[in-house]
Every structure is written in structure tokens, then in C-alpha cells.
Symmetry: D3
């Protein structure tokens, strides 16, 4: 449907990359729900089928991921890089991701954080996405030429676990306290039944979000870590400082 | 005038602290203009008359500061702490500043950055303002009891010189490229004629803002450093990432 | 009772400093319980009566602190420095604390962390305790001469809130999962009824300990931050690495 | 000899990785002696024959390494990755190391530190070992399936030279002052005769350990850097703080 | 001309590596001019023809680079690694660069900084050069044996953009204010006409150098970041501290 | 004596501040010798008589300090601030130190490092000296007006113990290997007989300098930490990089 002159322009889609079928949900699923509920399209790119995990078969994992994406209001595609627990940093991978960025043309891009002391696929994918965001705007990369160059608005990192939170970047905290948001996020995590069963993954994330929320003075919150300083038009958008204690 | 039901609520005032009569203007004057032009009240608290500077008498400095505040659209008051180049960190000072915070009831507070290797009054005032923002919301501080407690929305630091920019806080960049904003800021700096003459102060600030602007993809920009992570309601307000190169 | 030759020597007492009546309990009460239950004496020094807090009178606070100390198995004394929310860093204070160290002769000392962006009394007390631990072992400080010099074994910092956790010190995590430990700690926090009521303080601490515990692979854990690298006699005491995810 | 019911369980073996035949000895040989003398088995994995060094042939290096391992009480195996001065970070290497971890089933793992500004093989091997420790506990990595998953207790980094010591991790210091320990360590370093001759390697390490020892208040000490915060059961094992000056 | 016994020995040549044809000029061209004007030979190694850039053909880029090198008084060679925007970190590349170091036998080596959040080729080349400087002095690397080992005096990093400046290394600032130096540098940047046209590259660099100059109390200055602490024979060479404000 | 036209201008004097009678000698005595032997005047300002130390009377300490200064070729004066182990940070102290700076008019100033976890007098004196260097160049500080303003060339910090070395400043290393330099430095440390006897102070410093020397490829070296980046006229003075291993 063609927007009428008075309608608000649709926001550019959000593009989220995950190394494994459940990383986006566990790391920042609540943020995804918030965005899709306000009308932003969300697109997930999953770079393995979780075939090296201790639990769940690749086939199960794909079904769980699809179910979860529906709950979050996101579309989803799987791509092949080197396989779960086998990801190497190669320019060829970054170019593959850059092709997707040029195709989806997102405003915001989400990727796993660059902190090294976590599952090795996570920071490597984070690096590849960061590089891909640059390559997507360079005019002369021959593998990318068939699609027009694209500059994203902002790259933000999510942390799949608390260990993955960078300590020298100031995060932005997204309030995910609304009951329907929290419920959809929880359902999306539980949809990864093969993973959620083991080792308290869902409790880990909800405890983490509750702790952030208590500190921020709201119910639950999720931290995202910007790759570059945000440019704002005025202090009206600088947010409220999170310091309850 | 009583706002009509359809009118936007007036934003809470901005409160900026300066150790010397020209610190706010040189450090973040462009941001002040932007805010006052969109209808936010700005209040300056100047904690000395610049009596230890190499140039300008206290009387001149007061006149210059008043003229400059008018150009920026701000109100201004002088207070006495220990005098220029004599500021010590004392709880009594923080309580004095907290009293002002309770009186002005600002949303946003601006203070000089905490980086130590600069004019010693700057980081000390920064510390005092940070502490004052906390004391202002504690119910039992007896010196403050005659005014109701007040919790600000956000404390942001400005850097009077590039040396004062903290390196492990992600700044927010405010676009000050609009010609009238840039012009008012420049005029406000030049109003401090006794200081502007010496050592290229105005050029320093405009060069700095131009360099930030080139990097951010706009004309000129000023960096502010949040004391606490901002809580946002959605990614729609996360800003555009500043990465032009 | 005189220990028999075969008995284990009693460990040197633990000495914990708090700026306010509830800081030790909220920051590391679970650790105190663990130590007192294994026969280590614990001594608390509280440096104000919480008279600047939004809730509770000084008289109430003293009663609550005494009740709480009993629940943790600790002795408690109040001292006067500058009063709640009024603490300045003065050598005279450090000397006062050093006198207590020489009197109690502790092995382990606990103090609030040095991170600045928290209640201003906390990092200042942390600094004073750190300095006091040094002064206590210098032979020539005239105010201290009536008591023999004493060198402590280890100074560890606790963080009253998550904001106060230092990011570039590797913590040690103490497992506080045993039901009786967790229960005694919770009771000790709740004994500070005037504070616990407001702003979810007890939930904050239990959520924090649960998050640490989930990450460490135990039920609940509390992080302490050593002032100096520990010297170990062998790797048998290096502990298990906390990395569950 | 079969342990009697009352005997202490044997500690899980220590597994140390070295990029070159002398790295473990020079970086932390004194710690190895201490552990093997208290009955812990030590196993060395050497990932090249030192064929790119300025001095010594590969054949000599192998002989020296074997002799040195005997002096330290350790077993030793050589593996092939990319060769001396040719190590690249590849997942295939990490999987190879993970296989060894599953075979040896160590408690403690030692690896060269991750600091980049040293021999390039060192931090790369450190990264590979860190990743291998994770892969060893993931159930689904197909190359590893023939051996049961294994979770180590603690990964600690050693620094082959002072330049390799990380600055934002709190080390643990192991006291290696006992004359027989110091003597065995020195002999083990000197067993690498082709290397020890050049550039004062043995003196470098003994000077370094003496400086650590002087600071720690013992004769000689070696610093190890934990990958993850240690979980302790009580403060009784937190060690003595190393601060003699 | 043969130097007479009393003449000063010619300084060892400067060797600068660039990932793209214009990186050295934009990042530190003013420093090159200063050195070549005092009689030091400068040699550039360019590792791609800029074929992935949005503007300029490889053929144009080569012509521009040659013209620019002449203006700076430097010799220039192109080498092939993986191509523009395709550089991977491989030991084979480091060995290739080490061969050049052994051939040119420089005193000072310049390389792009290691900061990751910039064009991905830059930090990767920086890493490769750092490793190459080490490999060049190891006697046994078989691919390098036909040339005698060489130890450089100092490796310094330049930052192609302000984003690439490391924050925890103290830079040295080189004064490039002399009019002929500034003019030659500007001309060399403008010689890269295909790049200079777009996005204010020349203005970016001159603004940056002016800001450094204002802070340092000279006209313009360029920051270089040493890989290792400099060893000085006396404080007479420690330089003037850059602190004008 | 009037210098003849061909003579080299005498370098501006070096001014070193110490909190206690032996701090300068132990922290950087070798550097002092090097400078005085090349004709630079050195002036020491000692801010206490060491009256809180475990060993030595104030009278002894003064005699030792005078003897030691002679051995280093320096002049010495004692000043009163708050007394040993009693130093507070007060602007009045900084002004007192600034008066000395205006009187002595040094090129280089040396002060104890700002690292906090050491004797509390050390970092406080470091802060006071840093502030004093600024105040000395401000024209309007009324207590200083009777002496003309003075801008120093460089402020460098020394570390009395290894604990006091800052980790995020790149040091400059001064080669103190010449036998006569090393001998004079050792003699100057031993002149503080009351201190040298206890706790291996002289060995600590020589071990430290030897370790720096081994790493730097010379016999012994001392690290100094610049307060501001040095401005150099060319790379000819950038020093040799210290990386022997």
C-alpha cells in the first residue's frame, strides 16, 4: 500500500545476525519484539544450524528457530559459513554478509559482541558483521557490484551472555518491561526447547534483564552496545540516565 | 501562560555548571543554543569570576559572561566556592550545588568532565556536580530539607578542551551545523573577548567541532559524555552512528 | 579455652567497614555468614547512622544494624567521621581507621569499592580503608604508636550495588548457595526494614547473586575484588574458573 | 600403588601448552615443579620444534625439551600445527588441541598469554587453547565425538616475557622460593642450552621472579593470569595480598 | 658523494607500509616530508591498487601514488597480498613483508594502527607489519634465509583517520608547521585526486593536524603511536610536553 | 662565566619533588646522575622528613638525604606540607609548589606517579605537582604574582616501587648502564642507610632496573612516565624501541 503524504515513513528494517539458531533470541529477543510491535520489519540471518551443540539436532534447531522468529514477528534465513563451532574470520564471509546487507538495506544492524572470552563463533561473527557493514558501502568491491551500495544507520552489539558484555563501551538500555513484550520474549526463548532445558538459559536471560531493569528503574531492560557514537539532533533524545541506586 | 491540552509539555530546564565564566561557552555553547532555540530553558551556574586567569579582570569577565549568556538564550548566576584556581573537593560545596539543583529542578545537567589532566578546577567541579546530583535526591540531608528532593534525568559532561575528553565513555554527538546555531555559538565565545584574544580559543573549539562534524558526516558537532547509560524506549531514538570514514 | 596441640589455629578475624548501617549486609552479607559459620570472628565498623537517607531515623538504623549483625554472627561498632553524605577524604580519618585495624588485628579486611560513580561516601571510605591498611603497618605514625603495628593479609572490596563493581580487577567469587547461608543473608538484609522496603534492595542483591551464581555454575555467588594480587602456595588453591556459559 | 581409603584423591593432571620447546619452562617452569612435587601429574604439549629460531636445530631442541621435562617431572608430546613462526589461527587447530584436552582430562590448563605484542605464535596459541577448552565441553563437535566431553577447572595464562603480561587481569602469584624448586626450574631452563646461551634468557626469568618475589614478600614468585574469575568456597583460600612496598 | 670522516652518518631509511595507495599520505604524509627533507631516504610499500574504493580506477590510483611519492621525496613499490578490501591475516603475508624489511633495512618503520574499528585492511596490515618486524630478526625462518636478519629501531603506527588513533598509547607528536612541509604534504594528498574530491579527505587531515598543533602549541602536528617504549640516552631528547590548554 | 658564542646553552634545570627523603633516589636516582653528569642542574624538593617511617629519625633522614643529594650532584631543600603520612590534597599546597617552580624555573619536572595503590603521600604529591605546573603558568593567581609566570617543558612521573608504574601510559626508558652512573646511583640509595637496611630496598630498585635493561637491550634502565605527549621536531629523536624479547 502506497503511504499517503501525511503517513509516517516506515522505519528501515532491522537486520540481526546470529551465529547459532538461538543467539538473537537469548541475547536481545526482547528488543526485537519491541521493534516489530511498533511496525519495524525484522530480518534474522542465522549462520549455522547449531550442529555442534550438546543438545538438539540441526533439524530440531531449524524448527525451533522458525517458531521463535514467528513469535518475535521476524523473518528468518539460514546461511552457510563454516558451520557451528568452526567459524573462521575470512574476508569471503564478510562479503557474503555484505551482500545480505545490500539486499535487506537495514537501518539498524544487530550482531554478537566482540568480546573474545565467549563461544568463539560469537566474536568472529561480530567482527565479520562489522566489516560487512563497511564493505556494503564501498563502491568498488567487485563481488558486491550487482547490488547498490548501502550505508546502515547504526551497528549495535548484543551480548549472548553477561560474559560477552564489553566493559568500555557505554550501552544503551532498552526497556522491555511491558508484559506483552516480556511474555513474547520468554515464549521465543522457550521455543528453543532443546536449549532452554539445559543449564537455565531462560532464567539466565530473565535474571539479567531484571537486574538491568532494577538498576535502570524499570521492570526489565536489555543492554545494546553501539559500534559508533550516536549523532543526535538534540538532547531531547539523549534518554534518561540509568542510575536507580 | 497555561498550556492548552494539545500543546507539548515544556521540557524540564537544562542546568549547566562552569568553573570559570567562559567554560560552558567554550566547552558546549553550541549545544546550549540548540536547546534554547527549541524552547528549553537554560540556566548557568558559574563558580568563579576567573580571577586567576592571565587575562581579563573579574569585572570584565562578569560582563562578558552575561553578554554571552544572552546570546545563547540562557540565564546566569554566579556563586562563590573557593575562588578561581582554588577549588577544593568538599562535601559542603556539593551540598551548595545540590541546593541549586533542587531549586532549578532540571532535566539535563551539564558539568565539566572528570578527566584529571586539565585545569584542576574543572574535574573537581565535575565531581562536585556528580555528587550534588545524588545528594539532591536523598531525603535526609539536613542542609537540603527545606526544598523537595529532585531526581534529574541525565548528567552529561562537556570537555572544555580536547584533553578533557574521557576515552572510555561513548559520547553522544550533537549536530550544531545549522548556520544560525554556529553563528550564535561563535558570537557567544567571542563575547569573552578577554579570553578569546589569547591562544586561539575560538579557533580551537571550531576546529574541534569541525573535526567531529567531518567524522560524523555533518558540518559541526559537539561531543557530550553521559554519566550513566541512557534508557531508551525503542531503537528509534538510538541515533545514527557517527562513522563517515 | 587454650587450644590443644592438635587443634587448627583460629583464623585471624575479618574486619568489615561500612559507610552506612546496611552497606556491608547488602554488599557482601552472604560472605560474612559463610566466614562466621566456619569459625572466623567478624567485626563491623559502621561510619555513620544513615542520617541522610530518605527513609529511617538514625535510632532505627542503629537497632536494625545491631539485629542484622547478630544474624550474621558479627560484632559491630559505630564510629563518627563526618556524618552520612558528608564524608571527606582526610588523613585524620584514615588514622582513626588504622587505630581500629591495630586494635582488631584482622587477617582479611573488607571495604566498599573505589568506583566513583556511586554514593560518594562509599568510594571515599574505600580509599580511607586502603590507606589505613598501610598506615597500620608503618612504625612511625605518632597517633598510632600506642598500639603495635599490624600488617593485614588481604584487603578485598565489596560493591554495594552493581554500579560499584570495578571492571579491570579480576574478582574472586564466593559461593553462598548453601540454603542456611542464603537464608541468614536474606534475613540480615530484611532486618534493615527501613531500607529494604524501598526500591527493591533485597531483590537487587539476590538477583545479582543469582546471576553471578548462574554464571559460576552454582546457586548464588558474591564477587569480591582484591586490592593486591593473591600469593598462593600452589595451584591447588587457585579455585575453579567461573565460566558456565 | 593403590590409594588406601583414607588417602587424598589425586589431583587432576595439569596440561601445559607451549608454542616452542622452551616456552613453558621459561614462562612458568617454577610453577610446574611445585605442582609435580606435590603429586600432580603434568603433561606438556609442544606445538613446534623451534625451527625458526636463530639458534639450535630442531633435533637439538627436541632433546633439550625432553631433558627439561624430566627435570620438571613432566611428560611431553610434540604436535604439528603450522610450524614455528608460521602459526595461523584456524578452528582446525583448536579442535586438535581440544582432542588432547579430552584425552588428558586436565584440571588446570596453562597457555601462553593473549597479549599481542610478543612472538606472534604465543598469543595465537593462547587463543587456540582458550577456544579448545570450550570446544572440549561441547557435545556435538563431530571431530571430537569419539572422546567424552570434558570441562576443565581453570585456564591460566603464563607470560613468556614481561612484555606478555596482561595489564588488566589480576594475576595469582605462585611462591617458587623453595631452594629445590628454584634449582630445578633453573636447571630446566639451562637444559635449553641452545637458547639459554643467547640474550640472557635465564637471567631474565630469574630477575623477573625475584622482582615479583620481593614485591610479594617471598623469595621468588611467578605470576599466572586466570581466564575466568575463580570461584572459592571461602575466604580461607583467597591468598595473602602481595604488597610488600 | 663519499662522506668525509667528520660528516654525520646518513640515517637508516624509513620504511612505510600502506594498505591502499593514499593511506600513508593521508595518515602521516607530513612526517614523511619532514624526514626526507633532512636527508633520510623513505621507501613506501603499497599493498593494493585501491580497486575496491568507490572512486578511481586502479590505473589512476597507481599514477596518483607515484606522483604523490615524488612530492614527498619517497620511493614506492606495489606488492600483491589479497587485494583491496580482501586482506586476511596470514603468516605468509608477514613473511613477504619481512623479506622487504630485510632488503630495505630500515631504522624506522611506519604502519597503519591496530585499532579495529576502521577499514578492515588497515589493522590487519598493521598486525602483519608488527609480526614482520619480529620475523625479520629471527635467524631460522627458512623463507627469509637468503637475506641477513635485520632488527629495526622503532615501529610507529599512523592513524589514517581519527577513529584509528589508539587511546592507551602515548603518541609522539611531530611538528609539521613549516610552510614548505605543510605545502608539500597538502600537494601530496591532492595528488590523490580521485580520492581527495570525495568526502573532504584533505580537509579532514589538515583539520586534524591543526587541532593537534593548537593543542601542542605549534601550527600543525601529526601523532604517531610507538609500538614499544622508546629508550633514550638522556632527558635532553624527551621532547617538550604538548599541553597548551 | 659568560658563555662564548660557540658554547652550547646550558639546559634548564631539572626539578624533582619527593614526598619522603629517599623517594627520588629510589624511584629515579639513576636518571638524576645521568642528567647532572651532562651539566644539567638538579634541584630536589623534599616534602617531609620521613617522620612516620618504621625506621630512622627525622634528623638521620635529613643527613642521609643531604649526603645522597651530593652523590647525585643535586641541590636539596626541605619544605613543610602536612607531614609524613599526613599529606592531604589542598590547593594551598599546590600553590606552594608552584612558587618553587616559578623560582627554580625548571625545564623538566619529576614527581611521584599518580597510581593510587601505594604510599598515600606519593600519588597526592604527584597530583599537587601536576596542578602546580599549571598554576605556575597562570598569570592571575594572586599568591604567585610576585614571581613571573613560568611554563615548564615536560612533567615526567617516576614510580617509587613497581606497583606505582601506570599501565596505560607509554614510558620513556633512560639507559643508566654506564658503570659510574650505576655506582653513583647505588651509593646514593645506600646513603639512606636507615631505609636501605630494611626490606631489600636497594635490591628492589637494582632488580627492577636490570629487568628493564634486559628488556630494553641495555644493562639497566629506568622508566619515566610523561604527563603529556612529547612534541618532537623529527623522528631522529624518537628513540630506539625497547623490545629485546
Amino acid at each position: 500500500m502506497k503511504p499517503t503524504p501525511t503517513s509516517r515513513p516506515e522505519p528501515a528494517p532491522l537486520l540481526a545476525f546470529g551465529a547459532h539458531p538461538d543467539d538473537i533470541e537469548f541475547g536481545c529477543g526482547g528488543v526485537i519484539v519491541k521493534e516489530t510491535r511498533t511496525g519495524r520489519a525484522a530480518h534474522f540471518v542465522i549462520c549455522s544450524r547449531g550442529e555442534a551443540a550438546s543438545h538438539g539436532t540441526p533439524a530440531q534447531r531449524v524448527i525451533e528457530a522458525n517458531r521463535s522468529a514467528v513469535l518475535l514477528g521476524a523473518r528468518l534465513e539460514f546461511i552457510e559459513l563454516d558451520g557451528d563451532a568452526h567459524l573462521d574470520v575470512r574476508v569471503a564471509h564478510a562479503i557474503k554478509l555484505a551482500t545480505i546487507i545490500r539486499r535487506v538495506r537495514p537501518g539498524i544492524v544487530l550482531a554478537p559482541s566482540l568480546v573474545e572470552n565467549q563461544h568463539p563463533d560469537h566474536p568472529r561473527l561480530g567482527q565479520l558483521v562489522r566489516d560487512a557493514c563497511r564493505l556494503a558501502r564501498y563502491g568498488g568491491v567487485k563481488e558486491l557490484r550487482r547490488l547498490p551500495a548501502h550505508a546502515i544507520e547504526q551497528l549495535l552489539y548484543y551480548a549472548v551472555t553477561p560474559e560477552a558484555e564489553p566493559v568500555s563501551t557505554t550501552p544503551v538500555l532498552i526497556d522491555v518491561s511491558a508484559p506483552d513484550v516480556l511474555q513474547a520474549w520468554t515464549a521465543a526463548m522457550e521455543a528453543h526447547a532443546s536449549q532452554a532445558a539445559a543449564r537455565h538459559y531462560v532464567e539466565l536471560q530473565l535474571t539479567r534483564a531484571r537486574l538491568r531493569g532494577l538498576r535502570a528503574g524499570c521492570g526489565h531492560a536489555i543492554a545494546l552496545f553501539p559500534n559508533d557514537p550516536p549523532v543526535l539532533d538534540s538532547l531531547a533524545h539523549a534518554g534518561r540516565g540509568a542510575r536507580q541506586f
